[in-house]
């Protein structure tokens, strides 16, 4: 049974998120997984919120009041950030798969993440000020 301890297993999915000893590509992998899970969670949340429409105008109006709270707006910013990070990192994966920038994937990752940081900042400023 001892042989199983170090053996690959679907139950070891938490190792996907272990950042210890990882390098740039590994960080990109972790970020991609976390944002994917976050966006999947949001999708279900979104469907639940849409379901409020079935409860009539009053129920939906109550939700709209909640949707304007700073905490909710911050949550929306997290969704936007996850979408940007996942989308741009996905571009890195698609490009390298097609043989583009394979030997410079690290620089590609950092470049795309710099663009993501600027985009998230712009969205954040607009969402909290407009």
């Amino acid at each position: 049974m001892e042989k199983q301890r170090n053996h690959p297993s679907p139950l070891k999915f938490w190792l996907w998120f272990n950042p210890i000893g990882r390098q740039a590509g590994g960080w990109a992998y972790i970020l991609h997984r976390i944002t994917a899970l976050g966006l999947t969670f949001y999708l279900y949340l979104h469907l639940i919120v849409l379901g409020l429409l079935a409860k009539g105008p009053d129920g939906y109006d109550q939700f709209l009041v909640l949707a304007h709270s700073p905490l909710f707006v911050f949550g929306e910013l997290l969704v936007v950030a996850a979408g940007i990070l996942h989308g741009l990192n996905g571009m890195r994966i698609a490009l390298t798969t097609l043989g583009v920038s394979v030997t410079r994937q690290k620089q590609l990752f950092f470049g795309l993440m710099a663009i993501a940081a600027i985009a998230i900042l712009v969205f954040g400023i607009r969402m909290f000020t407009v």
Binding site: P10, L11, L15, Q23, G25, G26, T97, L98, G99
Partner: protein, 243 residues
């Protein structure tokens, strides 16, 4: 060579049959320009003869001494102690991940070697056949002449570092896929079904950790990307081929 000695604590993963895995610490004085494998051997020679680990050539040719050193995959025979720790610090040594532990630092590489054979990768090539391979179409010919799969020493560091390999026993893994790429679908079309599968090259999620830890600069991740292009090309051709 620096004459100054360092005092370090070698923290080694121990696990015998029937035992739970644990760490044992061995304080020792080392020359920082020695290699990690030298320190491990010193434990075996002077402190604990029951320590089990794999090693042979001591010059990065056999690929036997791959281990995790302070959480990063290293070929311990060419990793100077100076590069991975400092005077007065702890140096943690563990077996490779994603391989069954046989004892202490030794892992079972059997399945990995079998898969390398399945894709036609040979551990040893005759000199007449070890010529510089034809560069894949997506590679620059000038740089690819230095990246040869013949340099792969089957150390398993890439499999250990791969996050996708942590959750699937059936995943072929970076070195095996690199071996398939070296064969090429043009040379061996039978590889198509093997690599274009759930546990083949599409399970790779482009973490590039394999390339980061490869001690022979074989660049497995780049080979996987090239193999994907080969598979896409072949599948595309079949769309327009008469049955």
């Amino acid at each position: 060579m620096s004459p100054a000695k360092w005092n370090i604590i070698l923290k080694i993963h121990r696990q015998k049959q029937g035992e739970a895995p644990h760490f044992e610490e061995f304080p020792m004085q080392v020359d920082p320009d020695e290699y990690v494998l030298d320190a491990v051997e010193r434990v075996w020679a002077f402190m604990d003869r029951s320590l089990c680990f794999r090693h042979a050539c001591h010059h990065s040719t056999c690929g036997a001494c791959g281990m995790r050193v302070n959480d990063v995959e290293k070929l311990t025979c060419i990793t100077p102690i100076r590069e991975v720790t400092r005077d007065g610090a702890t140096l943690k040594v563990e077996p490779l991940r994603n391989f069954p532990v046989v004892s202490d630092l030794a892992v079972d590489m059997g399945t990995f070697y079998s898969r390398m054979e399945t894709v036609g990768a040979r551990a040893v090539l005759p000199v007449s056949e070890a010529e510089i391979e034809n560069p894949p179409t997506t590679w620059d010919a000038d740089e690819s002449q230095y990246i040869r799969l013949a340099d792969c020493i089957e150390c398993g560091l890439c499999i250990s570092a791969c996050p996708a390999a942590a959750t699937s026993t059936e995943y072929l893994g970076p070195a095996v896929l690199a071996g398939a790429q070296d064969q090429g679908l043009k040379r061996n079309l039978k590889l198509l079904e093997l690599v274009d599968s759930e546990d083949g090259l599409w399970r790779c999620h482009s973490a590039f950790e394999c390339t980061a830890v490869c001690p022979s600069f074989v660049d497995p991740a780049r080979r996987i990307m090239d193999l994907r292009m080969q598979v896409i090309e072949e599948r595309f051709k079949r769309l327009f081929r008469k049955p």
